[in-house]
């Protein structure tokens, strides 16, 4: 029997002093067989030598992430600027000897390792991975995208190869949605082997795909390895393709180099997440599940198995959908997809006479606040604003002069605000919390919780036919409701925080899902009581701190006015150590009306209503809280 065993491969690796090891899961008696050479070069892929240098000074713009911005300044790709967020950060003028986006600047940036399973869809994974990572780098939010959306949107079968470039071409036209809208699937269990490759999913994404799709601009192809490393340093990961040999399949750790006599099995693509000049290798995320290699990641020597023969692909300018950002805003402020950086702030505030004014701030440049349209006639408080999967429309709910709730929505197609009508209790008496939820698996529901005049909280919800329903009342002795409603990342649970008559805050949660019940009753359970001396509505989000990956709930961040200052509270949703007060800041504050964790490197942005009835912006970066401009009257 002429075949190579894993044990023999291990011996050869040792004999050649090759800097890598076979996967520990494999026994020495497992077979590895030698084989000769491979196939022709794909005409679909650009050779590295045929790609011209990209002028990064022309391509790259000011980065919202202050740490990345400093890297671009270091190379002279963008002008030195004096935004407070970037002052004082290190600016090494040479390319670092290693970059690894799995952990950079103390943050994780790479989504979990996926498994393509028996389909030959490797090309879709790094393309999707580039979008996921760039969205996180550019907008400071975990973003999971569907490889199936790309493969099935293009219309390819399970067994059809393609290229990351083809995937990115398709995504430039169509964007890429989340797996809940259209998942990556493989042939069902029991499919005959000869039917696996021809199997093709019938592409039927969710009806609101447009509102849950990350858009991308153009992408760049880079051929020069030095420029690829600079790109990894100043922009983000790259998609790359190379030849797969049979010893690569059993790779475990170290820097992979093809062993003499190894057998070519085909062409493959991965996501390059970094490089290491000392070890002389690229660091990559594979799509063969977490049990392959080093937790699903690997290192491959520069130039090995033709990895540097073909152009690598990167992109920037991602535009993240509102469904992805849904937990990152509360109150009257959201970060929208508008503007050249796709990170404008949109804000609604009262404007006198019951009217509501739409304010906005450009996400780059001077970042001055500007007034947009006014609408409505019966608002008595700053509205609670969100953006939804319904074409990315803005939706707002406010307390009316008649003690009810009114819904307004901004149609992105016509650029106009529209009255969605009155709903809710007849004795509403607080700031409404308002979110879009997927309580039943799809985001076709609105959830509202508002204080009523009897000192209770009232949960209302809107079904997919746009009918509002009275959930039920819960809690007692409630002094204030506020925009604190969150549907957590890990569960369908709804959570909310209110202010009690004694000045303390209390959290409540609703995790009893009654699927199929016509009235969809909600059962709210009391949680922790914390704080003191509070006499205004709180504002809360679920942020990215504490979220180690795209499936993990981040910390709750809550801001509330106490006296004439703002208290910042947070709760660790992993350690479940309860609520902690981290800071007190501001002055002349009447109440907190908006809270966002936006694209600016995980900063928190707060809008307060001052005692003089004007709106003011505060923000927190890695150094602490800062006072922003007074925006205007409310």
């Amino acid at each position: 029997m002429a075949e190579l065993l894993v044990g023999e491969l291990r011996r050869r690796i040792a004999e050649h002093q090759a800097p890598w090891a076979v996967n520990d899961l494999l026994g020495d008696d497992e077979p590895i067989r030698p084989m000769p050479l491979g196939l022709a070069t794909s005409e679909q892929l650009l050779k590295a030598e045929d790609v011209e240098q990209v002028n990064l000074s022309e391509v790259l713009e000011q980065a919202a992430n202050p740490l990345l911005q400093r890297r671009r300044i270091a190379y002279g790709f963008v002008e030195t600027e004096t935004r407070p967020q970037t002052v004082g950060l290190p600016t090494a003028r040479i390319r670092p000897s290693s970059v690894d986006w799995r952990n950079r600047w103390g943050w994780p940036w790479i989504t979990k390792v996926q498994a393509q399973q028996p389909c030959m869809s490797c090309w879709a994974f790094p393309a999707t991975g580039v979008v996921e990572t760039m969205a996180r780098i550019e907008h400071a939010v975990w973003v999971k995208r569907s490889e199936g959306d790309v493969r099935d949107g293009i219309g390819l079968s399970c067994g059809t190869g393609s290229t990351p470039q083809a995937a990115l071409d398709w995504m430039c036209d169509h964007g890429v949605c989340d797996p809940g809208c259209w998942p990556y699937t493989v042939p069902p269990e029991g499919t005959r082997p000869e039917d696996i490759f021809p199997w093709r999913a019938t592409y039927q994404p969710c009806p609101d795909r447009n509102g849950r799709t990350v858009r991308i601009g153009n992408y760049e192809q880079l051929g020069d390895t030095e420029q690829q490393k600079v790109w990894l340093d100043t922009v983000g990961p790259l998609a790359a393709c190379f030849d797969v040999y049979d010893d690569f399949v059993v790779y475990g750790t170290g820097v992979y180099r093809k062993m003499p006599g190894a057998t070519p099995l085909g062409g493959h693509c991965v996501l390059i997440v970094g490089y290491d000049d000392v070890a002389g290798c690229w660091i990559f995320k594979n799509s063969w599940g977490p049990r392959w290699g080093d937790g699903g990641f690997g290192r491959i020597a520069y130039g090995e198995v033709k990895i540097d023969d073909l152009a690598k692909c990167g992109l920037h300018g991602t535009n993240v959908d509102p469904w992805t950002k849904r937990r990152l805003h509360g109150g009257n402020l959201i970060e929208s997809s508008n503007g050249p950086g796709h990170r404008n702030f949109e804000m609604l505030a009262t404007a006198g006479g019951g009217q509501v004014r739409h304010w906005w701030r450009e996400g780059s440049g001077a970042m001055d606040w500007a007034k947009a349209s006014t609408f409505g006639s019966d608002a008595v408080v700053c509205p609670t604003l969100t953006a939804t999967t319904y074409n990315g429309n803005f939706e707002a709910v406010w307390l009316t002069t008649t003690g009810r709730l009114r819904h307004f929505w901004f149609d992105q197609a016509t650029d106009r605000w529209n009255d969605g009508g009155l709903f809710g209790p007849i004795d509403a008496a607080g700031i409404p919390a308002f979110i879009q939820s997927n309580y039943y698996g799809v985001p076709n529901y609105f959830e509202v919780v508002v204080r009523t005049a009897d000192g209770r909280l009232n949960h209302w919800w809107r079904d997919p036919t746009r009918q509002w329903h009275d959930g039920r009342r819960f809690a007692v002795n409630v002094l204030h409701s506020g925009p604190t409603l969150v549907q957590t990342r890990e569960r369908t649970t709804l959570e909310i925080v209110c202010v009690l008559a004694d000045g303390r805050m209390q959290s409540w949660r609703c995790d009893d899902i009654v699927i199929g019940h016509p009235d969809r009753p909600s059962f709210w359970k009391p949680g922790e009581i914390f704080g003191s001396g509070v006499s205004s509505p709180p504002c809360m989000i679920e942020g990215q701190f504490g979220a180690v990956d795209e499936d993990t709930a981040g910390n709750y961040e809550l801001c509330v006015a106490v006296g004439d200052r703002v208290e910042h509270w947070w709760r660790d949703n992993q350690g479940l150590s309860g609520w902690h007060r981290s800071a007190v800041f501001g002055h002349d504050v009447h109440s907190v009306v908006g809270l966002v964790e936006g694209s600016f490197g995980f900063n928190l942005e707060v809008i307060v209503l001052r005692a003089d009835n004007r709106l003011q912006h505060y923000w927190r970066d890695r150094t602490g809280w800062h006072e922003g401009p007074v925006i205007g009257p409310a």
């Binding site: 491979g38 196939l39 393509q116 049979d246 085909g266």
Partner: protein
């Protein structure tokens, strides 16, 4: 999922070639086990290269069919099982499986 056994009769010096599809770009490989007189045959493996094909790089997601040549060495009976699986997930069932029942007899 096990396929019907293919039975072949060879004389020493004769050979039989089996062509199997590759899922190498998905991390799968063909794992062979022999039961019986292992010394009765040698199994050689090669890539199914078309004439004129040059060196890699290969098209992403494109696998190379694998050729397994069973060379009869001496009299005996051996069953060769081919399982296509992820080598690093040995407890997972194979996605494809073939069985070759080989008898080598002197002429």
């Amino acid at each position: 999922m096990e396929r019907e056994q293919q039975r072949i009769l060879l004389k020493p010096g004769e050979s039989h070639t089996l062509r199997l599809p590759s899922r190498g770009p998905a991390g799968y490989d063909w794992i062979l086990t022999l039961e019986g007189d292992e010394s009765a045959v040698d199994v050689l493996r090669s890539a199914a290269l078309s004439p004129g094909m040059s060196a890699p790089p290969l098209s992403p997601g494109q696998g190379i069919d694998q050729l397994f040549t069973v060379l009869a060495v001496s009299s005996g009976h051996v069953v060769i099982r081919f399982e296509q699986r992820l080598p690093f997930e040995p407890e997972e069932p194979p996605v494809d499986e073939r069985v070759l029942d080989v008898t080598v007899e002197e002429g």
